[in-house]
Assembly symmetry: D2
Homo-oligomer: 348 residues x 4
Amino acid sequence: MENKKIKAGVVGATGYAGAELCRILCGHPGAELTAISSVSFEGQKLSDVYPAYFKMCDLVCETQEAVVERCDVIFAALPHGLSQELAAQCQTAGKAFIDLGADFRLEDEDVYREWYAGEFLDKGLHQKAVYGLPEFFREQIRGKRLIANPGCYTTAVPLALAPALEAGLADTQGIVADCKSGVTGAGRKTTQNTHYPELNEGFTAYKVAAHRHTPEMEQTLSRLSGTDIRLTFVPHLLPVNRGILATCYARLKPGATLAQLREAYRSRYDGEFFVRLLPEGRVADIRNVRYSNFCDLSLHVDERTGTLVAVSAIDNMVKGAAGQAVQNMNLAFGLDEAAGLKLFPPAF
Amino acid sequence: MENKKIKAGVVGATGYAGAELCRILCGHPGAELTAISSVSFEGQKLSDVYPAYFKMCDLVCETQEAVVERCDVIFAALPHGLSQELAAQCQTAGKAFIDLGADFRLEDEDVYREWYAGEFLDKGLHQKAVYGLPEFFREQIRGKRLIANPGCYTTAVPLALAPALEAGLADTQGIVADCKSGVTGAGRKTTQNTHYPELNEGFTAYKVAAHRHTPEMEQTLSRLSGTDIRLTFVPHLLPVNRGILATCYARLKPGATLAQLREAYRSRYDGEFFVRLLPEGRVADIRNVRYSNFCDLSLHVDERTGTLVAVSAIDNMVKGAAGQAVQNMNLAFGLDEAAGLKLFPPAF
Amino acid sequence: MENKKIKAGVVGATGYAGAELCRILCGHPGAELTAISSVSFEGQKLSDVYPAYFKMCDLVCETQEAVVERCDVIFAALPHGLSQELAAQCQTAGKAFIDLGADFRLEDEDVYREWYAGEFLDKGLHQKAVYGLPEFFREQIRGKRLIANPGCYTTAVPLALAPALEAGLADTQGIVADCKSGVTGAGRKTTQNTHYPELNEGFTAYKVAAHRHTPEMEQTLSRLSGTDIRLTFVPHLLPVNRGILATCYARLKPGATLAQLREAYRSRYDGEFFVRLLPEGRVADIRNVRYSNFCDLSLHVDERTGTLVAVSAIDNMVKGAAGQAVQNMNLAFGLDEAAGLKLFPPAF
Amino acid sequence: MENKKIKAGVVGATGYAGAELCRILCGHPGAELTAISSVSFEGQKLSDVYPAYFKMCDLVCETQEAVVERCDVIFAALPHGLSQELAAQCQTAGKAFIDLGADFRLEDEDVYREWYAGEFLDKGLHQKAVYGLPEFFREQIRGKRLIANPGCYTTAVPLALAPALEAGLADTQGIVADCKSGVTGAGRKTTQNTHYPELNEGFTAYKVAAHRHTPEMEQTLSRLSGTDIRLTFVPHLLPVNRGILATCYARLKPGATLAQLREAYRSRYDGEFFVRLLPEGRVADIRNVRYSNFCDLSLHVDERTGTLVAVSAIDNMVKGAAGQAVQNMNLAFGLDEAAGLKLFPPAF
């Protein structure tokens, strides 16, 4: 069997998303974590960087080239801007490439230029790229070899709002996405505002109405609703390690009811293993999805103001990054979409 | 001098708001914490309930009657519904009464009945009550003897939104108040969802668009803006002890600019010691106001959608409860409004 | 295959240890979680009590009797004192019984009486019971049908100290075990001192030199060292959900060196998958074993005072409870000892 | 009055200890925070570095020279090794100097050389220095102009153990100090192990039996007990901002009882405002001393092993650093020793 397994590699394995990918891939029945790379820790074991991995994943960090050469699929967890060249190398080498960065997420180069101050180095390559949000674009992902894995906020917000917009139950104007993220979303690099004593017992917003995920979630919602959507997105930093809670507000169309909304979401997500539409009365909570690939979803209506409040919760490192990337690999290689991803969230 | 000090008493001293009141009053130069009461801990020292208070406040909990009899001003930190009778006793006894509960906050009995399922036992008494949000209703508070202290959310949200609405820079329709509160706001009573392992590393919304503070903040904003305001209010529970961050969204009137907004807020809060309008580029953070009576305020504009994002941060136990109550006492008794309240927030 | 799986049941499934057992058993390749019971939640789904389990474990809580009847092995996660009767029922029914409580841990009834104020209801049953700490008593556990699963502290401390005592490198007198536990160790029942605001940012010791685990760890170390050991054990409560760090102090025998100690531990734990003896220079940390069945171990020598400092870290819910119970099931039923227990600890 | 106030200055004001000093000095009735310095933030306001201080302490960071010139007393919160020269400058300028670093704490240059790899640049200066632990060395501190402020652990451990040793109730051999510190003790500089996601939910020991505070606490205990004491000291890092809990173990002398111990501690600390000897049955907890200058102390006896367990709790930033420094200033300048230090610890 072993030789039938997909050979998976991770470039940028020592960052948080990369390390989480390694953890998930080590438990995948149809894939084998074959090679990893890290610029900062080349030659060191992953378990030297993360002692939690001792005896579970003691692979040594090699070069990008070694990873591309020895693997069937290459996951990249790199800072924005570093993936385009690697993607080209993978294409040349005939290897599948799944990018956890932002380089291939935006279809419009002008938008990319505006928000990332970067260029599309190879427009043909960008045309080949598919946006990897399986619950919405599953068919386009199947069999593909260049997949742009969505960001964390850009997974949580569209999953919370799309069905209402697709069903025409909510207004496409005046949408607000108030999101709260755990600290792992800020990455492994130390900063003053993620220094324990300066984050603990604190809570604030950042990049108010100026976060790069804004155009990405607008792109997804516009595609799905068929109208040009602009929304107000404000991220906040939570003093927890993992999880994103997206509290999304949209004005209801006249006459729209909670029952209609629930039915629209139920039918939209019918059969989606990773989306858990909560029973009425429950509210999505990040603690229930930690370490899992689930997106919990709760729907609420403010009848006094005619407003839909859709709340989604994901683990930013799993459904918001590494887990969704593996879900995309499963689709790209024709495996069971949930293979290696039936991660049981602990209750505490 | 001692005999010139105001004799202050706290009914419900062993709850969080009551205990915080005791702590603040013990440091007040013009008041003396004279008597405290607690139904659950009558006969015990406050420092037996809160060992942190050992040698700083070892008063013994007595009866309500004892407090009313021996004090000039009685603060009540009781569950909703229990203050009306006590207020009447205080009036009869000619004592000032400052209620940290909700019994006297709402002017319209129908609204009170709808949200609290209660009655106004003595309508005359309610007419005498003044709403104690000093930054907005200072003149009405001076010299009064029956003051309804605002709730925590209902302090944070109006302070964030009022100047924009008063200046006609924001639309009174479609306002969203997405608020996040520390756990002390839930009180001292143990519950499953505040049991450490079930809250730690978690984050969720509660009472979505159904929280009792909704009509109270609408009442304040309607009074100040002169129009009937209804907004969508969603509270969330933060895994921190103290603090409320209110992220408030309002559509800007055409042409309204950040400069105009900043000017409106600057002039509105000019001379307000407890409101800190942050310089452009800063964002309000609960960690900067902990243990203080400050309200930090930051203003942001989403020009892509024409939305004002006003963020306020307070300590829910201080400016959101006990501190504001003392601020009201200072006004009622003609003391320096900041007496005993120049609490220096620690940086960590 | 399905019918070949061991039918496993959990009595007391809605407590923390019981819920963790369910989570682990759901991922066990050789066992099937067949029935669960709960007195408090009979008739409700486990996922109603723990929404994190939604779609992963929606079993309904039944009666103890139903669990005993339908399962091959019954795990009990009950308050102390309630297991003896259940154990008798299981024996009568010919079912295997693994007790996570303390009823069968102590061999000496006098000691049990002194620390638990209880009796051995059926001495014969107690003689049949085996103490389930596999790394030390593996051979006695194989094939057994009545297993007393050790406590959390009583797993962490002996694993840290036994090899030094067995090898005669440390003095059996004057041992100190200073232990720190996450809050889940206190169970699901709400208490004032586990109420979030009263535990968060706090840290204290409890049951100083008076904890019931004292005689249990003494029993294990005495058995292994062949001498009667009494030690000083002080537990502390950490503001984290999971994990126990045991910092153990023992006077070194004259001439004993760190090299000798490391060799003794290396040979003692050679081949033990769940014990990770850390390289020199590393220190055991609870964050590296969370959600896993590992026990991390680091050895340190204070040459100035001739003292061994042995530090062990476990997840109190896994190696300290549910994981070890499954490890015992695997031994009792002749499965691979690590089956279902190769749980990969997350790095963050 | 203003002109009668002591002009106080802080060198290294933007570090945690320095910032805490500024906060405390701003509330001191007999001192005025006159000038502060910072190498990293010269020219910036302290409130730009710590927005919590906005409107409370907006002093601009100047040079060391400016601080020495304009102040009567200079507090130094600098990395070890940088204080000796500054102390000399202060002596020349006739200014009082209180050093929060380690340069003047150790009397024996050989010990200093061994643990700090440094030299005594001016032996005469070191002879003038007094060790500033007021509860033990009050009389030597009065009127002095060069004071070495103790470290945090070295305040907590001697306060917990000294009375038992002075009274001859405990053995001076085989003492263990198992200490746990909040993260602020590690300072403001960002490091990987204080990066929020890598400390949160974790707990470990560090510098096991190798921490520089070891010889300092031995020096104090040896001076007080009149015998040469060596102990085993193991510090741990707690996932909280503030506080040190010291769990200290010492073998009791034959016949020594808890009653004798309590009497020894009671008489030793009789009249010490900042030491709170807890009633029997209570255990010291860091949450009860946060933001205060108190040291809480609880005594426990393990009669089974003849061991004293003395537990002390302090705020590492206050009694363990800035608060004690101000206490020393009060003594040096003949003010009420508690002036500006009756800081009321919040209960939550």
